[in-house]
């Protein structure tokens, strides 16, 4: 079988590699490598109340909407929103699969899928405050008619509606004033 597209990012080095695009969707945020053990990368939103910054592949969509996987080790700050996954259009939030850690700390971590016009979510049993307190391993994958989320090896959510139909790019984002998303590993591949 021919090798399929496969991407690994260690978020190790002096700065974010240039194959990533910093996408200031609202306001102006920053990205920087962290000078601490296991620190990875931080994405920090601007100071505006609804500011949002993402990193993505500048619309190079190499991952399948019906046969692909995305693994992320990350966390967010309390009372802010952040997440990661794969989307066709990061600004519009269309055609993709993503994990969202919400600003309401008692909310569950949610698996979202999106088609071209609408997104929908399924809650996990994992509480956002837990996702904010420490790094965890998130694995999202899409098969022909289902999408899945596992956290630290435990299957947490399954979805079958609003599935993407267009190719996707990796992304991670943060939203709300001065929020921070921390990410130290990302792997995406077609299956």
């Amino acid at each position: 079988m021919a090798y399929k597209q496969h991407f690994i990012e260690w978020f190790s080095g002096k700065q974010l590699p240039s194959y990533w695009n910093t996408d200031n969707i609202t306001g102006t945020g920053t990205v920087s490598m962290v000078d601490s053990v296991d620190g990875g990368l931080t994405i920090t939103a601007g100071s505006g109340g609804s500011d949002m910054t993402a990193i993505e592949f500048n619309n190079k969509t190499q991952f399948s909407p019906n046969a692909s996987t995305c693994i992320v080790v990350g966390k967010t700050t309390a009372s802010k929103q952040g997440g990661w996954g794969m989307l066709n259009d990061v600004s519009a939030g269309t055609h993709g699969i993503k994990t969202v850690i919400n600003s309401t700390n008692t909310d569950p971590v949610r698996l979202y899928t999106a088609d071209g016009s609408e997104s929908a979510q399924t809650a996990s049993s994992f509480i956002c405050s837990t996702a904010q307190a420490s790094f965890n391993a998130y694995k999202m994958w899409i098969e022909s008619s289902n999408a899945y989320l596992s956290i630290n090896g435990v299957l947490e959510a399954t979805k079958s509606n609003n599935m993407p139909t267009s190719a996707m790019q990796p992304f991670a984002y943060v939203r709300l004033s001065s929020g921070i998303t921390h990410i130290r590993y990302m792997e995406c591949y077609n299956t």
């Binding site: 002096k14 000078d35 601490s36 053990v37 296991d38 996987t69 090896g153 130290r184 792997e187």
Partner: protein
């Protein structure tokens, strides 16, 4: 069969710690990842940069015959690696045995690294705790011009160095501790005693927290 590199590197259900893998392959050094610093005037010297040869990796030549002239790779002060729970693997070589040294490992004010040691008879494990001191332990591998694979790990009590797959040296004194600060990857070629310019190469580097 899994398709995930993550699942091959980490036990099921665990959260991966920081890691970096560098193959030193391509048109030019990845300067988003690496900071290249060197003695004045080094840009015009050669061979420098990615090698146009089989298994050549990345090579650097010191500027001229001055003692202490060097070229070095680092993360420019970004230190994601644990001083008491980490490891590294490097594949390196010296191009000459006289007055040529190279160092590879994890470094900051404290360090644990391989020393391809100038006019020393053998390669050495070199460690430093910046509040206590510095020490070296010889391996049994002669300081030659061959490629060698070096692997070192620390658990905060002992630093173990493997050369070409064999445990070659251990040190328990003057090693990085939890109070000496986190570490970053490091490779340096160094002219120990003048003469002519000196060249060393590296074609693989991996570092990870354990």
């Amino acid at each position: 069969m899994t398709d995930s590199i993550y699942d091959q590197l980490n036990a099921y259900g665990t959260v991966a710690k920081q890691r970096v893998v560098e193959n030193f392959t391509g048109d030019a050094l990845d300067t988003d990842r690496w900071q290249l610093t060197h003695s004045i005037g080094n840009d015009s010297n050669s061979p420098n940069g990615m090698a146009d040869s089989v298994d050549g990796g990345f090579q650097w030549t010191t500027h001229n015959s001055n003692t202490g002239y060097y070229g070095q790779l680092s993360f420019n002060g970004i230190r994601p690696f644990d001083p008491v729970s980490s490891g590294w693997i490097a594949v390196t070589r010296n191009h000459t045995t006289t007055d040529t040294a190279h160092y590879a490992g994890l470094h900051e004010n404290s360090y644990f690294m391989i020393q391809g040691a100038g006019n020393e008879t053998y390669f050495r494990l070199s460690t430093r705790n910046d509040t206590e001191g510095t020490g070296n332990t010889n391996t049994s591998i002669s300081s030659d011009t061959n490629w060698h694979v070096w692997k070192a790990e620390t658990n905060g009590t002992t630093v173990s160095l493997y050369g070409d797959g064999v445990l070659e040296a251990e040190r328990t004194a003057y090693i990085p501790s939890s109070t000496t600060g986190s570490l970053e990857p490091f490779f340096q070629v160094y002219n120990t005693n003048g003469g002519t310019s000196k060249t060393s190469s590296i074609r693989y580097f991996e570092a990870y927290n354990t």
